[in-house]
Symmetry: C2
Subunit: 236 residues, 2 copies
Amino acid sequence: MSVSHLPAYEQVKTFVKAQITSGVWQAGDTVPSESALQQQFGVSRMTVNRAVKELAAEGLVTRLRGSGTVVAQWHRISSMLAVRDIHEEVIERGHTHSCRVLRLEVVVADSALVQALGVPLGAPVFHSRIVHLEDGVAIQLEDRHVNPAVAPDYLTVDFQTTTPTQYLFASAPLTEARYSIEAAQPSAAEAKSLGIGRTEPCLVITRCTVSGAHVASQARLVYPGMRYSLRGNFQL
Amino acid sequence: MSVSHLPAYEQVKTFVKAQITSGVWQAGDTVPSESALQQQFGVSRMTVNRAVKELAAEGLVTRLRGSGTVVAQWHRISSMLAVRDIHEEVIERGHTHSCRVLRLEVVVADSALVQALGVPLGAPVFHSRIVHLEDGVAIQLEDRHVNPAVAPDYLTVDFQTTTPTQYLFASAPLTEARYSIEAAQPSAAEAKSLGIGRTEPCLVITRCTVSGAHVASQARLVYPGMRYSLRGNFQL
DNA sequence: CAGTGGTCTAGACCACCGA
DNA sequence: CGGTGGTCTAGACCACTGG
């Protein structure tokens, strides 16, 4: 009922989104051309063009004139904060990335994890704690709890060569994310892992990623305040 | 030369932006209807529609079907961070806003201000320092330097009834903004003004706003980490 | 009611890419 | 070269708003 009353371009968008979020079309895959979608939906090309153009503006796909449309490698949050790989981020700045895996284990879900991940109390949950280094200097402590339902092989991954973000992207398409940014003091353990003082202020990003019906993981990302800042620029 | 080769919809967008950033059309003013712009530029309505639709997506104007298009009250940065009034923000949460003006004075530009505002060394610059309270609790320390060229009457404003953001919006249309978000310890004076401990981490937003050819002001906004966080949500 | 924006069509020309 | 996306037109119908 209600679906059929949606604008045609919204129906095209919904279809493409569904293919991406369900994993049928993976990052890097090519999206059908405008003329193909036009025939599939029986609408004019302008309508298809609008749909795909808006998806490109939202960052879900990338378009190249003369070449085609492909599923984007990563997805934006509000166009400023990106759920992206710290490895790529560091490489993009022309620096080298390395990491130390501090923990990789199974823990038992306490009430906080029940809330965050939607698993039963006492259920097994994967936990990883990794320090990411940029040119040998610690810039991020990644403390992550992963829902085994979406990434059953999480504990067997070699996180020296693959980051958790990379692995989770590949195993469970991102459909939703919630985040908060705040300033906080690191815990004693966090300060030690990052090699900073206990009172040094840190930028803390807490992020829950959702894949379909499951919460895929909850991450607490701690950045030393002296070594990291979010920057932006805006022009009318 | 190059201007005439721009797409028609870009030319319409540029025209509308210019009217807004130059202050000819103020916040709340109605923008000419699509049919009016269509005749003015000699293009089809779809082209005008695209131009104005994109401006609405960017947050510059607000559209109401059946009513018309009006210039938006405030402008977004990357759709997450908004250059908006803290007064409105607090009111929107259903709380009461008040403030204490700690300083309102003329200072002499040092080298940092020369860099930031683009004024000559030793030139007079307005300076205000205001603590904003939400339900009586300090949530933001606003330390601002203002270019006298864009707001000559800045020192005579009653900041108990008008916030600096409100006044600057009205006197100098925003055309550009640069910002950074980081975690830092407050200075001794900042901690005292906010009524927090010297070692409490704070979220610090530094923002430069540009109006036309001038940098209008530079603001350092300090939020106690325990009382403020930026939150967001993102769905595919 | 007349005017507004929201959507849609069936064409069209162009610049660009890869083979 | 054929296929791609980028842009544009001159109409059209609709839902909504205001007087």
